[in-house]
């Protein structure tokens, strides 16, 4: 009697969840395990700004009811941090000393907020926004009408900024190369978008690199960001929105090729036969440009997850790398991006 194939998915974001449901639809008998560091099951990260619209109950935040996982026969491992993957023995080692064997592995562990190295000393003074817990902390530490200083301003940050402004907070944006990441904008288009942000109430600071963040004790506001030319900006919290750095550390011993992200072919295959990667963590080979490229954004990431799952079930589909990323301003003056099309 053949034992059922064990598919393991590292990462329970949009890509991972899309993959899990697709796998189950293709094969009713296989074993599916999803592994996440978080204590919560899948929720949509783009919903996190809702904590500023009164949404504080994590149970409402979940994308699907917990019972749904059991209905689909998906084993969900939470608070499980992967520390090593052995691509030869096909096992995964978890931080709590458990070893899991897989037949097929899909890595979609995404990325973490990139903080420019020259600010690495100040990481403890900054607030992240990558998880429900982090979002709640921002909500707790930002007083009514307070100011959030954003460094960079990638699309995750811009989305949060627009919500904050709408909810009566203030936002100061210190721009850099990663502003509007993952979109590449410059010249007139960039000016137009920055003007739209200013029109919404954002204070935009350009051409001035942040070189330090300090904490102010006692007197409000709690943080000061020092810029290259000596200017100091005050705010209640400081956040770094300079794009995502793929979280690949646990894959370093797996025997797959990694540049900044995990390198995959258009079918999302890594250099190890039983491992695929999808989402923010991978770089996909683009045959015309002869380069490995990242594809970010909710839509792309979900598509990648589902495609990887179909390929894990025997298909041979290539990721359509030609979807154009668009960025424009709607009639209310809000910046809309295909990154967020949901």
């Amino acid at each position: 009697m053949a034992t059922a194939l064990h598919h393991v998915i590292i990462g329970t974001g949009s890509a991972g969840f899309g993959a899990a449901t697709t796998l189950r639809a293709a094969d009713a008998s296989c074993r599916i395990t999803m592994i996440t560091m978080s204590s919560l099951p899948f929720y949509n990260r783009y919903d996190l700004p809702d904590v500023f619209r009164g949404q504080h109950d994590w149970r409402e935040l979940l994308a699907v009811a917990p019972a749904h996982y059991e209905e689909l026969g998906i084993t969900l491992r939470r608070l499980s941090r992967v520390v090593d993957v052995d691509g030869v023995r096909q096992t995964i080692s978890l931080a709590h000393q458990e070893v899991i064997a897989y037949d097929r592995l899909l890595v979609c562990a995404g990325g973490r907020a990139y903080v420019p190295e020259n600010l690495s000393d100040a990481v403890e003074l900054m607030h992240g926004f990558g998880s429900f817990e982090a979002a709640m902390r921002v909500h707790a530490d930002l007083p009514k009408g307070g100011t959030a200083i954003m460094i960079g301003g990638d699309m995750i940050g811009i989305d949060l900024a627009l919500t904050l402004l709408d909810a009566g907070y203030r936002v100061t944006l210190v721009t850099n190369q990663q502003t509007f990441w993952p979109h590449n904008v410059d010249g007139d288009e960039r000016d137009r978008l920055l003007a739209a942000l200013s029109a919404k109430g954002t204070k935009v600071v350009e051409d001035n690199r942040p070189i330090g963040v300090t904490q102010n004790n006692g007197s409000m506001p709690a943080r000061t960001v020092t810029l290259e030319d000596g200017t100091e900006i005050e705010g209640n919290i400081v956040m770094s929105f300079c794009g995502l750095a793929p979280t690949v550390e646990f894959m370093l011993g797996a025997g797959v090729d990694i540049e900044r992200g995990i390198l995959v072919d258009p079918e999302l295959h890594t250099t190890n036969g039983s491992i695929r990667a999808a989402g923010d963590i991978c770089q996909i080979w683009h045959d015309e440009e002869k380069a490995y490229k990242f594809y970010h954004g909710w839509k792309n990431v979900r598509v990648m997850g589902e495609l990887a799952a179909r390929n894990m079930s025997g298909a041979h589909e290539a990721f359509d790398a030609d979807a154009k990323d668009q960025l424009d301003i709607d009639k209310d003056g809000n910046i809309r991006s295909t990154f967020w099309a949901h």
Binding site: N118, S120, E259, T271, K290
Partner: protein
């Protein structure tokens, strides 16, 4: 039966049962199994090419004896203040505290620096001199290998004359590594101390075949032995697609070899770079060039790697500091041509995209070019630092070379020429400073043995009982201390101000506490164990096991443990030395005090 009531030792007591309390003094063992124990259980010392006794020097720091710690280092490596700053740290990669589940390795290198920094001003150097032997040795090249060999040979009683081509001794230490990583006053002091035993150093003299140069034949004639330690003082040429010998690099202005760039700068030349600097190469020299370029005013600096950041031989800390200084690293590209403008000035570099290929030695990867994937990067200055190679033009006779074109030596360090030895990069190819120091020592021993007709020192293990655990379990949770550095803004234009500022006494003490002191051997005396399992209950790791037996290897050392879960198959409760983190919990809890602690130290003893 309590310990003090135990019977007197049997007359035929042998070393293997020496874990009983009867042995109260230190004793020496030449048994290969004891030496093997140290090799297996002190991974840091085994990884160090110079064999530095790391647990001993860290223990000295814990006792606040920085001078003693410094001297322990000097026994293996005569330049501790230097290596404590720029060493490539193969020890830290093997440190037991960095093994899976144990946390981060001990900051061994920076503790060495702390000992050097914190020792007394009037610190006394420890040099036990041998009687003069009447033999003379000529050493060509005063780099790390030459200096280490000169010191050891001088200690052993030989008359050493050291020939150096440049104005200053030090080799790559003086001419390759920038001052903001290695302050020259520290270097000068340690070089001076290494040579104080009476080494006759002459600088500004070249050994070779030209006018005014001393020929190798003369040296062989006059001296009893000659050591060639000339290193790899030539840059490896950059092969380009239409120009495999790399001649284009010499014809286009603003293209320089990184090695020459740094050499000339340290000789006193005023170097300049453009605003946009591209560096090709993945070693320490490439990173040094990039950081020097930052201080010379470059605004946009990029390092181009053939593989990726994961597979380059520099420490993660170096890469991080470079990134903090706004140096960007780009991977997976190989340069294929250089484009100049009409004035012969560099305009851009053309690269081909790579993908990762198979594995090379030392954990590096091959890079395979992808067809039709060329792209250009514009820049004002290109610094090429893809490697360094040995130069043999100073030889006046045939010397057997190995397949990498470096000097071939036998196990004593002698080349194919009688009485001519070689050490350091000249033998290993471009390697690290600690490798050169390690080999310099080894070959010095080889020269001494050859000159004196027999070996004079041998390696033994000193085994001494230790009264009680020297650490507390709480120390295991101390986070690794990171080297404090100058703020990025302060570093901007100083080529000489040291970036890393060093540990103070308190930080050094805290970091020293993290060392497990792996040279301690915790062992259960099976005859006195009552199988109460109290030790297993308190063990912080899976380090104490119920075993049916232990495999014995052919040489008599203990091999794999045969574990069992069946209570009635248990032959012994045994401490697995591999997993043991020397926390002492078992020692304190044992009701019969059957656990002994012994310190095993490798020493060189006179024959």
């Amino acid at each position: 039966m309590a310990r003090h009531e135990r019977m007197a030792p049997k007359p035929d007591l042998d070393r293997r049962t020496a874990n009983r309390a009867d042995r109260t003094e230190a004793y020496y063992s030449d048994d290969t199994r004891d030496i093997g124990w140290v090799r297996e259980n002190v991974p840091c010392q085994t990884a160090c090419p110079a064999g530095t006794d790391i647990p001993a020097y860290i223990w000295a720091i814990m006792q606040d004896k920085h001078g003693r710690s410094y001297e322990i280092n000097r026994e293996a490596n005569v330049l501790p203040g230097v290596l404590g700053r720029i060493c490539s740290r193969p020890c830290e990669d093997m440190c037991r505290h960095g093994w899976p589940g144990n946390g981060e390795p001990v900051n061994i290198c920076h503790l060495k620096r702390a000992a050097a920094d914190l020792k007394d001003r009037g610190h006394r150097l420890n040099e036990s001199l041998y009687a003069p032997s009447g033999k003379t040795v000529a050493i060509v090249g005063a780099g790390p290998a030459g200096i280490a060999a000169a010191h050891d040979l001088s200690l052993l009683g030989h008359d050493v004359k050291l020939f150096e081509r440049e104005d200053e001794p030090g080799g790559m230490l003086s001419y390759g590594i920038p001052e903001f990583r290695l302050p020259r006053d520290i270097l000068r002091e340690e070089l001076h101390n290494a040579l104080r035993l009476g080494v006759d150093l002459t600088t500004d003299v070249t050994v070779g075949n030209g006018d005014g140069e001393v020929s190798l034949a003369e040296l062989r004639d006059v001296f009893d032995a000659v050591l060639l330690a000339t290193g790899c003082m030539a840059a490896t040429e950059l092969p380009l697609r239409d120009d495999p010998s790399g001649a284009a690099a010499d014809t286009i202005a603003n293209v320089e070899y990184g090695f020459d760039f740094l050499l000339e700068m340290h000789r006193g030349a005023q170097k300049q770079v453009g605003k946009r600097v591209a560096v090709v190469g993945a070693g320490f020299t490439a990173l040094d060039c990039a950081r020097v370029a930052r201080r010379l005013g470059a605004e946009q600096i990029t390092i181009h790697l053939r593989t990726t950041e994961e597979y380059i031989p520099v420490t993660k800390e170096e890469v991080f500091e470079a990134k903090r200084e706004s140096v960007a690293l780009h991977g997976l590209r190989t340069p294929i041509s250089l484009n100049a403008d009409t004035n012969g000035q560099l305009r851009s570099v053309e690269f081909v995209q790579n993908r990762l290929g198979g594995w090379r030695q030392n954990g590096r990867r091959k890079a395979i070019a992808i067809n039709d994937s060329e792209f250009e990067v514009e820049c004002d200055t290109l610094l090429v630092a893809i490697g360094q190679k040995t130069v043999h033009d100073f030889l006046d006779t045939e010397l057997k070379l190995d397949r990498w074109n470096n000097a071939a030596i036998d196990e004593t360090g002698m080349t194919s020429l009688e009485g001519v030895f070689a050490a350091g990069d000249y033998v290993k190819g471009a390697s690290t400073v600690i490798e050169a120091v390690g080999q310099g020592r080894e070959v010095a021993m080889g020269i001494d043995t050859w000159l004196m007709g027999k070996p004079r020192r041998k390696q033994s293990v000193r085994i001494e009982p230790v009264e009680e655990p020297l650490r507390e379990r709480a120390f295991d949770f101390i986070a690794r201390k990171h080297m404090p550095t100058e703020g990025v803004e302060e570093r901007s234009d100083s080529l000489t101000r040291e970036v890393e500022t060093g540990f103070d006494n308190d930080v050094a003490f805290e970091e020293a506490k993290r060392c497990y002191l792996c040279n301690l051997n915790y062992q259960i005396d099976v005859d006195n164990c009552i199988y109460c399992r109290a030790c297993i209950e308190v063990a912080p790791k899976n380090c104490i096991k119920l075993v049916e037996g232990i495999q014995l290897r052919e040489d008599g050392t203990y091999g794999a443990l045969l574990e069992t879960r069946e209570w009635d198959h248990v032959g012994a409760i045994w401490i697995d030395n591999n997993e043991c983190i020397r926390c002492g919990a078992c020692y304190y809890v044992c009701p019969t005090k059957c656990i002994s602690i012994k310190r095993n130290t490798l020493v060189m003893r006179d024959l």
